[in-house]
């Protein structure tokens, strides 16, 4: 196979490499070897995603025809500014989480299950990448279920340390399956009136359809299904338990990439597939997405303030952050959608980093990390805590961190659309998020009253190096945000401005 043919097949490789390596990982009984396969899988996907991003950095786009069947009959993978950026963010975070998993997974999972765990890990990575790449509405459902089922397996593996992980996995399975089925019902309605499944083809055909009601119903079912997967309030209920009881490395992986893929799909449905019926989508954005996003921001933040278990606290905070992304997409202007993509990237490095740090605490304490258990850890685990703190400050949106750039572009997009009340709400909720972060920071440097719990092994480089990669990414994206902002602008131009 020549170099040229590899490059021509890059869009498929980013999905196929993890998927093909998954069964190999399942057969390997040795923890280290299985990890190596996972690193090759996620690393291969990262390299492919990086090359793809380079190929579309001039604003061009191209499509890959699976099995050489031309669209709209065959399934196509679409590589454009938006999908390449999202897949690159996800592949990078998946790779860092895989590095962390080498020491973290064996501590929480039975030795003989490790190979199978990495198999599910790779399936989740491949499925989520496919979700972003595909240009076919039904193929999207298949990737949705591949990623959902493997995520359920990964979450349930947390049962090694806490049996509640099983219930969290079961609930995600049921709620996720209902959501995915809603999406399929929607696709069925749209297919019935258009006779096509290709997204670009659908976008061209939908405006000509006379049966507005069917389009409305199909659109409603599809969006409702994806809202469940993206964990947007009030259908976020599966998320806190799933993130809280999953193994540490899995929490970091899912928090960084799982909901991001669904949010991207939401943008695709709103701005590509149904671009031809702006009155329908505007209705959904104005009366459904924006109110739900704001409700989610406040619910997540307030629940996080009163939460005592640190992983659950971060999960509630994720609900709020997903709300910011959904709100940015809800604005629907080019600046708003760009702000959404910027925050997809920034929130991935922020929350991924924080979950990695909590994983480090967990492995040192060997028990669930509650706020009281963290007392004084700042002095005893300074390297991990400093990394945690950088990500935390970025979460609040302090200048010179990635989170500040997100908030800046979101607020600017809101002002440009004269949505002053919404902008005030965003600022108020940012101030509220200081409350729960300060609660953690205070306790980290507090002197414990009684005996200090013994630490197991202290701080291992294998655990804090991935964390610091993300912490430095937070600072770098805060100081030099131009590459991400430019890519996000191109993505938004392509999705909103291009049609």
């Amino acid at each position: 196979m020549s170099i040229a043919s590899i490059i021509a097949n890059l869009p498929a490789l980013v999905v196929v490499i993890p998927l093909l390596l998954a069964p190999i990982a399942a057969l390997i009984p040795i923890s280290g070897a299985a990890w190596l396969v996972a690193v090759i899988g996620s690393g291969g996907a990262l390299v492919s995603a990086f090359l793809l991003q380079g190929a579309v950095s001039n604003g061009s786009s191209f499509s890959y025809h699976l099995g050489s069947w031309p669209p709209p009959w065959g399934i196509e993978f679409v590589v454009d500014s938006a999908s390449a950026l999202t897949v690159l963010i996800m592949a990078a975070l998946a790779f860092v989480a895989t590095l962390f998993a080498r020491k973290a997974l064996p501590a929480e999972i039975n030795e003989k299950d490790i190979g199978k765990a990495y198999s599910a890990w790779l399936l989740a990575c491949g499925g989520l990448a496919g979700l972003v790449m595909t240009g076919d509405a039904f193929n999207l459902f298949v990737f949705l279920e591949i990623s959902a089922l493997s995520s359920v397996i990964l979450i349930a593996l947390g049962a090694g340390t806490d049996r509640r992980a099983l219930v969290a996995g079961y609930n995600y399975l049921i709620i996720g399956a209902v959501g995915a089925t809603f999406y399929v019902i929607g696709v069925g309605f749209i297919y019935a009136v258009t006779g096509s499944l290709n997204m670009a083809d659908l976008a061209a055909r939908i405006p000509d359809v006379q049966q507005d009601t069917v389009i409305m119903v199909g659109f409603g079912f599809m969006v409702a299904g994806i809202l469940v997967k993206a964990a947007i309030f009030p259908v976020h209920i599966w998320l806190p338990a799933a993130y809280a009881y999953a193994p540490s490395a899995v929490s970091a992986l899912l928090a960084a990439i799982a909901t991001k893929a669904s949010l991207y799909v939401l943008a695709r449905i709103l701005f590509t597939m149904f671009a031809g019926v702006p009155d329908v989508t505007a209705l959904a954005l104005e009366w459904v997405l924006i109110p739900l996003a704001i409700a989610g921001i406040f619910t997540g933040t307030i629940l996080a303030i009163y939460e005592n278990d640190i992983k659950k606290l971060l999960a509630y905070s994720s609900v709020a952050q997903i709300g910011y992304i959904a709100l940015a997409f809800g604005i629907a202007s080019t600046a708003g959608v760009a702000a959404g993509f910027i925050h997809i990237g920034n929130h991935a490095v922020i929350k991924g980093g924080m979950f990695l740090a909590v994983g480090g605490y967990f492995l040192a304490l060997r028990s669930r990390v509650s706020l009281s258990a963290m007392t004084g850890l700042g002095r005893r685990m300074p390297i991990t805590t400093t990394g945690f703190l950088i990500c935390g400050l970025s979460l609040i949106g302090l200048p010179l961190t990635a989170g500040f750039i997100s908030k800046l572009y979101l607020v600017r997009a809101l002002i440009a659309e004269d949505m002053i009340i919404v902008m005030i709400l965003v600022l108020v909720s940012s101030a509220l998020s200081v409350a729960y972060l300060w609660k953690i920071v205070e306790i980290l440097w507090q002197r414990p009253e009684g005996e200090e719990a013994p630490l197991h092994g202290g701080e291992a480089p294998a655990l804090y190096i991935p964390l610091w990669i993300l912490a430095i990414a937070n600072l770098w994206l805060g100081v030099a945000p131009t590459p991400l902002v430019d890519s996000a602008n191109r993505a938004a131009m392509h999705l909103v401005g291009g049609l």
């Binding site: 279920e145 349930a156 049962a159 049996r163 399929v184 499944l197």
Partner: protein, 146 residues
């Protein structure tokens, strides 16, 4: 009668709606985890039926090339899509049942409310046993209703 005509002309759609709402209702209302999965399967089956109904052409045959003239044939694509969806549905049910087995082993119950009540207990500080040799999360105390 107008109503009767509407019903007889669209009876398969009515069955789809009936199954869909029934399945979803079971998922939401039932407390038993196996019954929830049954409801989910019914819900998904209604969608299969919906696709097949959409693809069927009245009086159409199977889409096989004939040597003589053109015959009306049913749309094969929805059938193929549903084959995929059936596979996904089977995988979902299988994984769900496997999880229910593990939940039964760990909690001694598959009733949603009983398991939820027990979760609070498991949240208490626990001894090291849960970490050392407990791959499937089975808990010696799991059998006791809280």
């Amino acid at each position: 009668m107008d109503l009767v005509a509407t019903i007889t002309a669209n009876w398969n759609y009515l069955i789809v709606i009936l199954l869909m709402m029934g399945g979803l209702f079971i998922v939401i209302s039932q407390n038993n985890m196996v019954k929830k999965l049954v409801g989910l399967a019914i819900f998904q089956t209604s969608v299969f039926l919906f696709y097949i109904t959409v693809g069927k052409v009245a009086g159409g045959t199977a889409p096989i090339l004939m040597s003589y003239g053109k015959a009306a044939y049913s749309n094969p694509l929805p059938h193929v899509l549903i084959l995929t969806a059936i596979v996904v549905g089977v995988a979902t049910t299988a994984l769900g049942l496997a999880l229910v087995l593990r939940i039964h082993a760990a909690f001694g119950s598959i009733e949603d409310d009983e398991v939820l009540a027990m979760k609070a207990d498991a949240g208490m500080p626990r001894s090291k046993r849960s970490r050392s040799s407990d791959p499937d999360g089975s808990d010696p105390d799991g059998g006791d209703p809280a």
